[in-house]
Symmetry: C2
Subunit: 199 residues, 2 copies
DNA sequence: GTCTATATGACGATAGAC
DNA sequence: GTCTATCGTCATATAGAC
């Protein structure tokens, strides 16, 4: 049972504050107050506000990357695309629920990162999207996904996944399995190729 | 042909800057510089930074409210829910494309509004969502929408609509009609009740 | 309607005592 | 590891000349 280091504690507390007010509206004094210490004391554990943001964001970004890559490692050449999409969506929901305090920073505060971390984050996000694009392309080729503009398919899924944290906190937090099952079904049903007599 | 008042110009320029950097990271100096005047001069047209944000946000919020209410005014008691949803979704996309510069403030910067405007905005947003809930409830009753957790249905649609502006600016801006048609189809197909032999 | 000059306050960060 | 005290900077906003 390892406990939190002081640095990990700062990152977690800061993430929760960033969520409420946004990176720029949170001061080092706010973070310190939430930990019952003075702002100056924070600098014994971290180099500055930027470093806190970098940790909050990159920690979760790494998890998303690992999740999507692990699906591709196992994937067979002509395997069912829909099944792989299901797996990734469910993993994405898992990570979102686990790091719900940090997710707003990934969608809203990343713009306040400084180079070169900012470029690195954007590259990881781009790579994540490209993995989806790959599956969508194959899925259309194999007739599993309906042939509309591929970016619309991509967007309909990712937009929902990326803002999941907003809804999970409202409306009395849906039960986890209901969320995973129903949400995955809606997202997949929206993009599959239905039999022609239904259209 | 009416032209922009100075105040309208400020609001539009500010919205574009809020989009890029977020409300708190944009200074009055930034806004003034973008208009080739000094920061102090802004105060002849507006009372402060807060008032700019309020105008950026409430202007668009009013349009969304009108759009959804107009559908309900025309609606018949037992009319087809899916058709009404289609209409609202298409109107939502229209407004998003028209005010794309201001939309980030509605999803990200509203938290920096002060009372009582903040409460008013949240009430309007809540009302907008409730109109969707109403349609979803009827749609499930009538067998048009599949019976899963209604909040998941609501969320799958609204999350996509609310972040549309993020994607429209990337990937070479999809052609408007492709976006409206394909996106509406995906969102609707995701939630309709399919014939049982397909499940 | 725009300017210069400035009041007032909060920010991130550092120095050095304990 | 935390504190007090403080530096330098930049923010919003105002006053008053032109």
């Amino acid at each position: 049972m390892k406990s939190f280091t002081r640095k990990e504690e700062i990152i977690k507390v800061a993430a929760a504050l960033f969520r409420e007010k946004g990176y720029n509206a949170v001061t080092m004094r706010d973070i310190a107050a939430a930990m019952d210490i003075k702002a100056a004391s924070l600098y014994n554990h971290i180099n500055g506000k930027q470093e806190i943001l970098e940790n909050v964001i990159m920690q979760v970004a790494n998890e998303f990357t690992e999740a999507v890559e692990s699906v591709f490692i196992k994937r067979k050449e002509d395997g069912c695309v829909i099944d792989d999409l299901r797996t990734i969506i469910r993993k994405h929901i898992d990570i979102t629920l686990k790091y719900s305090h940090a997710l707003p920073s990934l969608t809203q505060d990343w713009m306040h990162l400084k180079e070169p971390v900012k470029a690195k984050f954007l590259m990881m996000r781009e790579n994540y999207e490209n993995r989806f694009r790959e599956l969508i392309r194959i899925g259309m080729w194999q007739g599993e996904i309906k042939r509309i503009h591929p970016e619309v398919v991509l967007f309909s899924i990712l937009s929902t996944l990326q803002t999941l944290y907003l809804w999970q906190e409202k409306r009395g937090r849906l039960e986890e399995n209901v969320l995973k099952n129903d949400m995955t079904d809606v997202l997949i049903q929206g993009i599959i190729q239905l039999p022609p007599y239904l259209e």
